[in-house]
Subunit: 155 residues, 4 copies
């Protein structure tokens, strides 16, 4: 119980770092939602700045890859955290600070149209050094816009 | 000769669309350099907005994937253009408007540190429907920060 | 009804081509199972020939990527077929003959241990020219050994 | 000097393991060539068994991905070895035994036609835990058939 509270507190401080101290996340307008603590999601709204195709008004491909990379990294971190039972908060924060994307594949399935978007992820494997996640981006009509696979350094 | 001039004119109008009408490219501060018409490059400067890791001041991974996706698409388009000898300018512009990323792989090799960055690309294959390109991102010390491979719809 | 029978007959002839006329599929020992006509699976048994790591007796990574590529291609083809209502059998066979892998990502999640393996796939997108699929390889303990994403030319 | 001789001896024993004790490499007919010790290449001949498209007689895509994965792993290992100056032969062999592919991207550029093929690789990054390599497959007319990028666990 106490451990769960600590983890939640830890997540909250990490998530406030995420939202307030990572400038490009603010440019993208990414908002973290961790209603389900094990499956955080990212939400963001369509804004003129994020457009790539000015004729059709679609999201820029780079906005899509950015959001999928970010949610993939967070998902990998949550997966790593779940294997750190009994470790100190300091060790957990250090783990977060060492987190990095090794490689990323993005598949652009449909034009990035919509009023708002949700990026979500799931863990395929969590090792001591490397985690692999799959990510998806849906629009507000629940249409699948893009998917990704990411390999992250978590060790 | 005339054809080369036309192509250059076409590229210039496409490139002005690119710089002025694609909002997210402006957010990223991407500047096109087509000194070598067959190998366009993108340049951009480090700015606070583009930071992902606020402790080390590195580029956000999404900035890197965005820049590599954009230069990959342009490189694919130049490749497709070179196979359109004798086609009208209209057909070439239509080709540009249909250009889209199918999928993308990014490998993050080193932290995105630097004062400015150059993204470049080369064509691996240009088919009637699909083009494949490789991309690289170097910093102003000529250090290789990231590479990518992209598959683009050009048909 | 008649159309469904035709499609099944078509699939059967394609599947016999697959099993009998593609030499490397025989080397791998791939057996097609199309109990569910929309979700074909591939089965194969562990055999000494297929080993990569002689100490642990694991499947060679190339066997895994081969099986995932093959099931991805078949899944892409089934997806394309479902959009060909009313087309002749000849057109469908021609579609099959033009099928080709554009690119492939494989994630090796766990050592390839097991007595037998099942490769399955699902369609992420079916366009007129390009299809994207996700693939999975499980062993006979239902352990997820590897996943993949493939982009296929179907046009 | 002595160190170079030792390394060569080590490589030779590793390479004989490679050729004689990895069954699927024998199925593929892979022959290691380490004339240039830092850039090993793999050669193999077209054989009926390796065919995927029986009409055109092309290499099976799985043969291509297999060969590129193998040369990528060897290239990653050579890169890791070069950072192990002064370590014992035992430590180096242990490093080899822990080598594993994390993920792989293959781009199929041209039909796999030819009498024989050469797979080669180059290191993009060698870290303590993870190495990234690029790979290429050419036929005996020096035509580029396929390229790949691989991420390998070397730690």
């Amino acid at each position: 119980m106490k451990s769960a509270q600590n983890s939640e507190k830890l997540l909250q401080s990490i998530f406030s770092i995420f939202s307030e101290k990572i400038p490009f996340n603010r440019v993208l307008g990414l908002r973290l939602d961790f209603t389900d603590i094990n499956h955080p999601t990212l939400k963001f709204d369509m804004r003129d700045e994020l457009i790539g195709n000015f004729i059709h008004g679609n999201l820029h491909g780079g906005v899509i890859s950015s959001a999928l990379d970010v949610i993939g990294g967070l998902t990998a971190f949550i997966g790593a955290l779940n294997k750190m039972e009994g470790k100190s908060e300091l060790e957990k924060v250090e783990k977060f600070s060492r987190l990095g994307t090794i490689d990323l594949r993005i598949d652009y399935l449909r034009p990035g149209k919509g009023n708002s978007f949700v990026a979500s992820g799931s863990v395929l494997r969590t090792g001591n050094k490397v985690a692999v996640t799959r990510m998806e981006l849906h629009n507000d009509n629940n249409l699948l816009i893009a998917v990704g696979t990411g390999t992250y350094l978590v060790g």
